[in-house]
């Protein structure tokens, strides 16, 4: 559960903030010692689910900063509900986390 998240009711929407740990390597840099290119390694997809249904998705490219941060508002869930966050990167690694809406 490395994805950190928090969610709060704001008006008729729920504001969600998510912080992930990831190198977000662009694929353009070279290793300083070997001169070899460092392969691209970045989160590609982040999904927020509520009661098993996907309610928000973000597709990410390598231009997203290291340790990606996301904020978004969703309609539907209410205070006390749990939101699930999952991520997938371009090398097939996944991560997840969850938060209870305040």
């Amino acid at each position: 559960m490395a994805i950190k998240s928090k969610a709060k009711v704001k008006g008729d929407m729920v504001e969600v903030k998510v912080l992930m740990k990831h190198v977000m390597e662009t694929g353009l840099r070279k290793d300083k010692k070997t001169g070899e290119p460092i392969p691209a390694h970045h989160i590609s997809e982040v999904v927020c689910s509520h009661n098993g249904a996907e309610i928000f998705r973000c597709n990410m490219g390598p231009a997203i900063s290291k340790n990606p941060y996301l904020s978004f508002s969703v309609a539907g869930p209410i205070a006390g509900d749990t939101l699930q966050l999952t991520s997938l990167d371009n090398q097939g690694n996944t991560d997840s986390g969850e938060t209870v809406i305040k």
């Binding site: 008729d12 392969p39 590609s44 997809e45 928000f56 990410m60 900063s65 978004f72 969703v74 996944t94």
Partner: protein
């Protein structure tokens, strides 16, 4: 006494390794995505290319209902906070583009339930550029452009 900050200026040609269901080992449901990562849109080198491959349209309609913004001056070109807000009924997808990045698309967002659009993230910028937001609603794509976000040298303040 000064130093150039950050150097992300060229596009990446990364290929997504599609490992569908790799997360199943964690027992987390639902697992990310049957929907494919829009590789062609992230590889597109022009705004038009992104529009076409992401939304299948040739052009977007300028809209005052979209507010896309970043800082006037980036504090760190490798970490530039940006946000998009839009008051467009039934919006179901949003995209964030950096006009001068060689591959402009930074991220896209899909919304399952209609409501006020509000998304934010942090991006890498190699040079001073405008940000572009695309918002799709009821099959139409709307757009707005931010003020320039200046990426510059640090130091020498007084």
């Amino acid at each position: 006494m000064t130093e150039m900050k950050n150097t992300f200026s060229r596009r990446t040609f990364n290929k997504t390794v599609a490992v569908v269901g790799a997360g199943a080992a964690l027992g987390v449901t639902p697992i990310v995505s049957q929907a494919a990562w829009p590789e062609a849109a992230f590889d597109a080198e022009t705004i038009e290319g992104v529009l076409q491959s992401l939304y299948g349209v040739a052009e977007a309609i300028p809209s005052d209902a979209i507010n896309v913004k970043g800082p006037d001056i980036a504090e760190n070109g490798a970490v530039v906070p940006v946000s998009i807000k839009a008051d467009i009924p039934n919006a179901d997808s949003v995209a964030l583009l950096v006009a001068k990045n060689p591959a402009p698309l930074a991220s896209s967002f899909d919304l399952a339930n209609p409501g006020m659009v509000s998304v934010g993230t942090r991006i890498k910028m190699g040079e001073t550029s405008e940000l572009i937001a695309l918002v799709r609603a009821e099959g139409k794509v709307y757009t707005a452009t931010s003020k320039e976000v200046k990426v510059t040298i640090g130091g020498c303040g007084g």
